[in-house]
């Protein structure tokens, strides 16, 4: 699964996700990626989210919407909201990760697996950064 979140110079957020799902998935099975509020979500002023992992758990826990609600209603910063959401998913048996971005363009990466292919760039840090392993 691949995904992106962005803040533009007018202060608008957006999110996108694309996937083939799981190897050996049952035909007809749909994961969280195309479900708005689960694998993909964006709301100006709060956050944008794209998730990757065992989709059924991200659907049950409304992962994308949950991150943004944690920001809006719990007043958590984006890192705490992303971390607590992925831990919540882990607590019900789900594995994976997500990327999130707050209204100021601060990115957060949260995983409960060993690694996640990821990267970031911004007007403040125009040199592209990439990472794969959990300790990077």
């Amino acid at each position: 699964t691949v995904g992106a979140v962005a803040l533009d110079s007018d202060g608008h957020l957006a999110a996108a996700t694309s996937t083939g799902g799981l190897t050996g998935k049952q035909w007809g099975r749909i994961g969280d990626s195309p479900l708005i509020g689960a694998g993909t979500y964006a709301r100006d002023g709060d956050c944008a989210v794209s998730a990757t992992g065992t989709g059924e758990y991200f659907i049950r826990d409304s992962a994308g919407r949950q991150v943004c609600d944690r920001v809006r209603w719990n007043h958590q910063d984006i890192e705490a909201a992303a971390h607590d959401t992925i831990m919540s998913i882990g607590s019900i048996g789900g594995d994976g990760g997500l990327i999130a971005m707050d209204a100021n363009g601060k990115p957060a990466f949260a995983i409960n697996d060993v690694g996640m292919y990821r990267g970031a760039v911004s007007s403040d840090s125009p040199v592209i950064r990439t990472a794969i392993y959990g300790d990077e």
Binding site: V2, A4, H12, A16, G20, W27, I36, G39, V121, P126
Partner: protein
């Protein structure tokens, strides 16, 4: 210059340092960097976040290393079914597609659902037909298959054959 920001993921899992050769490690990082550069080009010239996330995902869908578009995971029946979604935080508009089998870039189809219909989510043959009607590139389903993903399905079947064929349930 006003502030902008972009972040991406290319999938998660049990990725240890010993799992990837230096060449594979470099190839994944190059793929991520190419995608980020595509989104950066949009945002750096005043483009929208919506256009940036779309531009970022297209090269990842075209890169066979990642599980989306070409190189996507293969389902139990041997076919590739592709899903994608996009959402605009400013307008709360969204578009999504599922179970595409012929549309080369699912993220473009999701964007078209958002921009060109009053729906949010189209699936299956209707979604492919809609994408085609919008002029989006269509490919033979074999385009999405790669040897690596074929092997992953073979490996998966070794572990799950008993579930597929009940006559093997007891060994």
């Amino acid at each position: 210059q006003k502030h902008w920001s972009l972040a991406i993921h290319g999938g998660a899992g049990v990725i240890d340092r010993g799992d990837l050769t230096p060449a594979k490690d470099a190839a994944y990082r190059a793929g991520l960097a190419e995608a980020l550069a595509a989104g950066q080009a949009v945002l750096d010239t005043g483009g929208t976040a919506l256009d940036a996330v779309e531009a970022t995902l297209k090269p990842l869908e075209d890169n066979p290393l990642f599980n989306a578009g070409k190189g996507a995971a293969i389902a139990a029946d041997g076919n590739v079914y592709l899903d994608a979604a996009i959402m605009d935080g400013g307008t709360m508009k969204a578009g999504a597609v599922a179970a595409l089998t012929r549309t080369k870039n699912p993220i473009l189809a999701a964007r078209a659902v958002m921009d060109k219909t009053h729906h949010v989510f189209l699936a299956g043959e209707g979604a492919d037909a809609f994408a085609k009607s919008q002029g989006l590139a269509q490919v033979d389903p074999s385009y999405f298959h790669t040897p690596e993903r074929e092997q992953m399905l073979v490996d998966w079947k070794k572990d799950h054959q008993a579930m597929i064929n009940p006559t093997h349930m007891y060994g």
